[in-house]
Assembly symmetry: C2
Homo-oligomer: 342 residues x 2
């Protein structure tokens, strides 16, 4: 889930970017990529990213337990570091809690957060706790590093590149659909909802892709393949085409989609929070990258589209061969309302 | 203002510290000081700090304009960097806004924030914007650096040291009192409320104090002199005595206190958000430090107490010579309810 503002998020980000002035001499990347990046020394960049999860917007208490909230808060931030090809090091937590918050809730949240950070060698090194008169808010800042030449931005895609994704698409938003319908019991329920509750940050995959030197642009999928392809191509000033028939949708996601009475390809395209990596590379390098990732991390990687010149726009080739405009990004309730595909 | 949780903030911070594990090899300071600190190279430390301001807890919309909110959010974070003797470089903003938030409000907030950051050469380099179903929350992370040998912690105070503060005490909380009583018109109103709305981060002062090599412990005054002296002495495992008759309270703060029908020394001791620096140094060095600070920055500096052995505890010498226990830290409404001094 993620209810939207009447103001779209990107409009606010654009406004902030316009008013925050120029980058400094040592700043390589400012507002508008997965993380910021600045030079520490000629060979090393520091990456910093923040992401907040707000009760009633990003999750609802009845169906999101505190450990999962902690895990998810860590994972969505680590995913941004992964999308740059970096290595996370430290995290800083701002926790806004209502006065009535029980001690066990806080302990479970912190244990979930610290546990997930530790899995990737990241320490919780500071932060702030404040009272909230309303929702719980968990805001995390993660700091990491990357080799100076090996950071992958959103801006580098070139016409002719293939577009690939790690893992599977649509499972997380199917999980959200099931979480909202606690009475809908299907055999794969637990596995599907875990993909929404506890995303897998693709840090090793991001690292390997960055080190390969073959990947030209990368972004993590928080707002759905359609929306994030739009972001990547806007940043790279290109167009793109997505092949709907090639989207990697798991059997579990298909079963969940059937139970939810929606099209699994809609979930893959417009459902959000998969936190997989979407990247572009010159087509001759794709098979080798796919093999390398599978061998070294066990993660499958799928070609889902290709980069086109900007004038050709952004479109989707449906399984029946028809071209349609790319649907817009993920919106609250999208999985139930959208019907782009036959 | 700052309404407190039923859980005290420090209990939550202790809980987080206990559960977040040991510091890493390169981490010099973790949870529990004004900022974290880790080694970038043998000569340089990186400092990171976060502070959030929540509507209805840290401010109320009717009497806090969006520019001031932006300025204050920057200033309270810069003040933490100042308290370590560091130099801030970059800031990262997490903004949680209700759906109805008007564009001019956002612009004014960002302009206030960016303006205050720019005054100190700090760039807004990234962040996140999210929808809030309730209050506006402004959470800022500031990153900076310090020379490896010149960071000042809370832990270094030694019995016999003098305790000094920069600037004046109690003006900010007098300003808050006036903001809450819009009909209470006194001639100094504007100047007093500005000290609450737009604190002055003491970055140059913090830098000079750190470079002097004479300062043993330092903290910024966010929760009032009494509360923050307690924190500093707890961290240093010492006691302390504060001389109430020596507290630097401006004429304006005294006039405001009279209008608010409270004791100005109560405001100086238990009112919060002065964002001045409290530091300890061996007594022979105090006069030179006071002179240096006045000459180089124009900021006055006052001896307000001395560090004692831990067994002597924490107390206050009243203007009439009586010793009383140190009042506890700042609480919401403290300025109206407290009466420690004759």
């Amino acid at each position: 889930m993620r209810k939207k503002n009447s103001w779209q998020e990107f409009q606010i980000i654009d406004l902030i970017r316009q008013r925050s002035g120029r980058l400094g001499v040592r700043d390589q990347i400012g507002i508008g990529d997965d993380t910021s990046a600045h030079c520490v020394d000629p060979r090393k960049l520091e990456l910093i990213t923040c992401d907040a999860l707000v009760e009633g917007v990003h999750w609802e208490s009845p169906w999101c337990d505190p450990e999962s909230l902690g895990v998810k808060s860590a994972a969505v931030n680590l995913s941004d570091i992964a999308a740059m090809g970096g290595t996370p090091q430290r995290a800083f937590l701002v926790l806004a809690l209502p006065a009535k918050t029980a001690r066990p809730f806080i302990i479970r949240l912190i244990d979930g957060l610290v546990g997930e950070l530790s899995r990737f060698g990241v320490r919780l090194a500071g932060g702030d706790t404040v009272l909230s008169p309303g929702p719980i808010m968990v805001s995390l800042t993660v700091q990491g590093t990357a080799a100076a030449g090996a950071v992958i931005r959103r801006t580098g895609a070139r016409p002719g590149d293939l577009l690939l994704v790690t893992g599977e698409l649509g499972t997380a938003s199917a999980g959200l659909g099931l979480l909202r319908r606690p009475r809908l019991r299907i055999p794969v329920r637990d596995r599907v909802v875990q993909r929404w509750l506890r995303p897998l940050p693709r840090l090793r995959e991001g690292n390997l892709l960055a080190q390969s030197g073959k990947v030209r642009a990368m972004i993590d999928l928080s707002d759905g393949l359609a929306g994030d392809t739009r972001r990547l191509t806007q940043a790279s000033q290109t167009g793109a085409c997505i092949f709907a028939s090639q989207l990697p949708v798991s059997l579990e996601a298909r079963m969940a989609a059937r139970a939810l009475k929606c099209n699994p390809l809609d979930l893959a395209l417009c459902g959000g929070e998969d936190y997989e990596l979407l990247f572009s590379c010159p087509s001759p390098h794709a098979p080798k990258l796919i093999n390398k990732l599978r061998k070294r991390t066990g993660t499958i990687c799928t070609v889902v589209g290709k980069i086109l010149p900007q004038r050709e726009g952004l479109y989707l080739t449906r399984p029946d061969g028809c071209r349609v405009d790319m649907p817009s990004g993920w919106e609250h309730g999208a999985s139930e309302k959208r019907d782009f595909l036959p």
